[in-house]
């Protein structure tokens, strides 16, 4: 047993021990807005992990985008020391998990690092859809569940009814449910005690070969890839020679530590503990979420189960508005990639947009976040084009072509048939919404395969649905048509033949390749009309009339027109107005820089994603 006090101001020991009975690894799960972040913040505060004056809301979400949108994108693990009523000090590792369907795999790996989960339920709202889906995820991962009923300070709180709901709808005993208020701090102490008593300590063999799970990784310019890990067997010290069992890379440990939430180096990460490992590796793909870390000289026999290579679900073109930024964009992608190894890209050329990249994402939220980070953190003006999936195009010559961009689709005469990826989707929803979900599924070419009544208040509906349908607005539509109750989970099923066509968009008579997309033939007419109308709203009036046409092959199937702008002149321009006038012209010019000139037509960035805004 060894003790290290690595934090400068910390008066507590960080307790490295091979005795796992004082360790609790858990995650906090909740329906959106039920108070997960507030409770996390409060735990950090009450255990003196963070001084009150340093508190800021959503402390575990470190990216601006996470805080702004109130979502968690990156996993995070923070160590908290808690001295319980029994006089013993416990090591809590609080593992924050992403909260979006795009990151289902990452969530599953984070949960695999835990023995327990605190299930937060809003005392005024009760059990909601994500409460159910998160509880299911936690139970599937065999976690001990501590229900916490939050917001009991509100006058409309009804904790007793919520307890019944937890028992009825989730089949989780709620006798031990803790009533808390993340806002006032009431009950947080009881919650910490419940974590000690209800969540099992980790088990593992300290003398066995190292077996550690990689939950996440991030890149540090000086230290290379830093991996967040959970040790299942053995231990990790600086200087150890380790290897990744799936990716195969070996490295010398440059340091180990924990987050409190600032990084603090420790002497060892021992069995049952969660912390970070400085790998020194420069290739972010060497460190993969779900991979097993083991000793290079004395490896463990079997890797941990559940590893999956993160495969992109959706591809879009990303182009710099100013072609001079192409190299900067490549550098920026490489820099983001080091913290987000799931990002893939390859060069793409467009007649309309010049040089750019076809980038693969886990989902549309992932795409939005990446694009926003590229623009903000690297000061780039970018255009993202319509999302596409990976189609399998079988040609008449018998060969198969993987097509991720509409531009790569061969001429129709050379296509025998096209197959598209299908998903097995699982929607959990209260019974009153099954009709709405079925309708939505039909609109998106889904085929219902099963419907299971989980309880009186929840139904599980299973569909086979084309991925291409799901990546557009399916999730948002599902949320809105079920008033937020539905939860969605999906996995890849198989490839199936579909009658797909390429819809082209012409501006002023010229086809704009970057606006093309692949669509089921039954939906082509409706989408073409919707898209022409949407583009008419988005493209500003300019010097000349701009006809917008939707076409399949040579056949025009939809049309709209942006009328020519007739007046753009500041009529009053005397002595004092001239400086102001020039500034106005400069502002107009700046505005134009954020648009892309396609032929003589100035097209705003959002036009290229107009397909996402077309309502059926």
């Amino acid at each position: 047993m060894s003790c290290h006090d690595a934090g400068k101001s910390s008066t507590m020991t960080l307790m490295n021990t091979t005795d796992t009975s004082h360790i609790r690894n858990f995650s906090i799960v909740a329906h959106i807005d039920h108070g997960k972040s507030t409770i996390s913040d409060r735990i950090l505060e009450l255990t003196n992990t963070v001084e009150e004056r340093d508190m800021e809301a959503q402390l575990l979400d470190t990216m601006d985008i996470e805080r702004e949108r109130g979502i968690t994108i990156k996993s995070n693990a923070v160590r908290v020391m808690y001295t319980a009523d029994d006089g013993e000090t416990y090591q809590f590792n609080l593992i924050d998990t992403p909260g979006h369907v795009d990151f289902t795999y990452e969530v599953s790996r984070s949960l695999a690092a835990c023995e327990g989960a605190v299930l937060v339920v809003d005392a005024t709202q009760g059990v909601e859809a994500q409460t159910v889906s998160n509880a299911n995820l936690a139970m599937n991962a065999d976690l001990d569940i501590v229900p916490a009923i939050n917001k009991i300070d509100l006058p409309s709180a009804h904790p007793d009814e919520v307890k019944l709901e937890i028992e009825d709808e989730l089949a989780i005993p709620a006798d031990d449910a803790v009533c808390v208020s993340g806002k006032t701090g009431e009950g947080i102490h009881d919650l910490l005690e419940a974590i000690v008593f209800l969540i099992s300590p980790p088990h593992g063999d300290p003398s066995a070969p190292l077996k550690a799970l990689i939950l996440d990784s991030y890149f540090d310019e000086y230290r290379g890839v830093v991996a967040t890990v959970r040790v299942f067997d053995g231990g990790i010290k600086k200087g150890d020679q380790l290897q990744m069992m799936q990716a195969g890379h070996a490295f010398l440990v440059d340091g180990v530590g924990v987050k409190r939430p600032a990084e603090t180096l420790v002497g060892e990460l021992s069995v049952g503990e969660v912390g970070f490992v400085v790998t020194g590796l420069k290739d972010p793909e060497a460190v993969r979420v779900g991979d097993t870390l083991t000793g290079a000289l004395r490896p463990t026999a079997e890797p941990l189960p559940g590893y999956r290579e993160a495969k992109p679900m959706v591809y879009t073109g990303i182009f710099p508005i100013d072609n001079k930024d192409y190299e900067n964009l490549r550098d920026a992608l490489e820099k983001l990639h080091v913290n987000d190894p799931s990002l893939t890209w390859s060069p793409e050329t467009s007649v309309a947009l010049g040089f750019g990249f076809r980038v693969g994402f886990l989902g549309l939220l992932h795409m939005e976040v990446v694009k926003e980070r590229l623009e903000r953190e690297f000061d780039l003006d970018l255009i993202a084009t319509s999302p596409s999936v990976d189609y399998h195009v079988y040609k008449t010559d018998g060969t198969m072509l993987e097509v991720r961009s509409p531009q790569d689709l061969p001429d129709v005469t050379r296509i025998d048939h096209i197959e598209e990826p299908y998903l097995k989707a699982k929607v959990i929803v209260p019974p009153e919404y099954t009709g709405a979900v079925m309708q939505l599924s039909i609109e998106h070419r889904g085929i219902m395969t099963d419907m299971i009544h989980l309880s009186q208040k929840s139904v599980e509906m299973r569909f086979d649905i084309p991925l291409a349908e799901l990546i557009l607005d399916f999730f948002d539509q599902l949320k809105s048509r079920t008033k937020g109750y539905a939860s969605l989970d999906y996995e890849f099923a198989d490839y199936r033949p579909s009658e797909l066509v390429k819809l082209d968009i012409l501006l002023s008579g010229d086809e704009v390749d970057a606006l093309s997309f692949i669509v089921h033939k039954d939906k082509a007419y409706g989408l073409a009309r919707g898209l022409c109308d949407k583009l008419k709203e988005i493209i500003p009036r300019q010097l000349f009339e701009v006809p917008i046409q939707g076409a399949i092959g040579n056949k025009i199937i939809a049309r709209s027109t942006v009328k020519a702008r007739r007046k753009d002149v500041l009529a009053k321009c005397y002595g004092g107005d001239i400086s102001r006038k020039r500034k106005l012209l400069e502002k107009q010019k700046e505005g134009k820089k954020r648009m892309k000139a396609i032929g003589s037509v100035e097209v705003p960035q959002e036009a290229f994603l107009a397909i996402l805004k077309v309502e059926d």
Binding site: R566, K567, K572, G575, I578, R582
Partner: protein, 392 residues
């Protein structure tokens, strides 16, 4: 080059119009008397300071604007005489609002040496006038035009299109009635909604009040055709005049002529060297090497503070081209020659683009580059091309 145009600003009104974002304050007669006395004392002192140093000797045009200069009543002719003590301008304009342009004032302005009256008519429909906060009626406005003509002034009236409640027929009526009163000059301004004005607040609540660009374009085209029919030729984006009645003072603004503005918020433009010559009267003036042109605005009533902007030779010439494109006569051969010398092939490219987009054409008789009808209504496109030349 010496200062050839002088502008005096009178920042007072009886009531503020809903669309106005100019520097002016609306005061009741008692408060106005007090404020105006103080303000005029400072302004006249400035006139004397410049005059005594011979800096107004070459002034050829004077323009008293506001605000509403005519709210000064009989003190206004006094101001005119003060200016006339130092120079002999050929054109001396005074802005006037119909309700404060009385017979007596008109007479004394004529006697003191004002040659031109610019009347803020705006509309000849009473409901449109009250909707924008004007305090005169159509009848009063027509009487004011008649009075100004009787006194022998060159008469201009300002009209606005795109007003709340205005429609094609009412606009045509306003134009026809205005032209029937035989003004020498008409200015046509499309209403713009400026941030922070009462109109902007109303538009925020009711977006249908936002002037429709297509309607304003129609209005400008109708105005052009009716004015031309009545013998008033267009000579700038917003300006129409009978032969010999184009406003020489305004043309100075658009053709790179130096001008001096006195009074709060008044703007000046002159060569950097000229500014150095009068630096003792313009606190804070310090052009650097390479500055060709100075623009500055008086920030307070006492002329203690000025805001400066300096333009390089490229910027000054690009600005001249941009402003020349506002005028029907366009850029004369002399200006084109200077642009070719300074900008080289870049200038030719810009001209090519302007021609290709139908914004400008060559007037081969005059050897000038002139705006087309499209370059008139879509002027910002054309001006943007010209101003783009300033970039190195």
């Amino acid at each position: 080059m010496a200062v050839e145009a002088l502008y005096l600003h009178i920042p007072f009104c009886r009531a503020r119009c809903a669309y106005c974002d100019f520097d002016t304050c609306a005061l009741d007669p008692a408060a106005l008397k007090l404020e105006a006395t103080r303000y005029l004392a400072a302004l006249e002192r400035r006139i004397d300071e410049f005059g005594a140093r011979g800096m107004l000797a070459s002034v050829r045009t004077v323009y008293i604007g506001g605000g509403t200069p005519t709210v000064l009543g009989e003190r206004l002719p006094g101001l005119v005489r003060r200016v006339r003590a130092w120079c002999a301008p050929e054109e001396f304009t005074c802005e006037a609002n119909p309700e404060s342009f009385h017979e007596e004032l008109a007479g004394s302005l004529a006697t003191s040496g004002v040659t031109r009256i610019s009347l803020g008519v705006q509309s000849l429909e009473d409901d449109e006038l009250s909707a924008i906060g004007r305090i005169h009626t159509a009848t009063v406005a027509l009487e004011a035009i008649e009075l100004a003509r009787r006194e022998g002034f060159s008469v201009s009236c300002d009209l606005m299109c795109g007003l709340p409640g205005q429609h094609a027929a009412s606009w045509r009526r306003t134009l026809e009635r205005a032209l029937a009163a035989h003004p020498d000059h008409i200015s046509v301004y499309p209403l713009t909604v400026e941030a922070g004005t009462p109109l902007a607040n109303r538009v925020a609540r009711n977006p249908s009040l936002l002037p429709d660009e297509d309607f304003q374009a129609d209005c400008m085209e109708v105005a052009r055709s009716l004015c031309e029919g009545a013998g008033l030729a267009p000579y700038e984006v917003a300006s129409y005049a009978r032969p010999g009645h184009a406003c020489r003072h305004n043309i100075a603004y658009w053709s790179g002529v130096s001008y001096l503005g006195l009074g709060r918020s008044a703007a000046s433009m002159m060569g950097a060297g000229e500014l150095c010559d009068m630096a003792s009267l313009i606190p804070g003036a310090s052009p650097s090497q390479g500055d060709a042109r100075a623009r500055f605005v008086q920030a307070d009533g006492r002329a203690h503070t000025f805001e400066f902007e300096f333009l390089s030779e490229r910027e000054a010439l690009a600005e001249d081209l941009m402003l020349a494109m506002r005028m029907t006569a366009g850029a004369p051969p002399e200006l084109i020659g200077r642009a070719q010398d300074l900008f080289g092939a870049r200038f030719d490219q810009v001209v090519e683009m302007a021609l290709a987009e139908g914004l400008a054409c060559i007037d081969s008789a005059a050897g000038a580059l002139v705006p087309t009808a499209r370059g008139w209504l879509m002027g910002n496109e054309l001006y943007g091309l010209m101003w783009g030349l300033a970039e190195a």
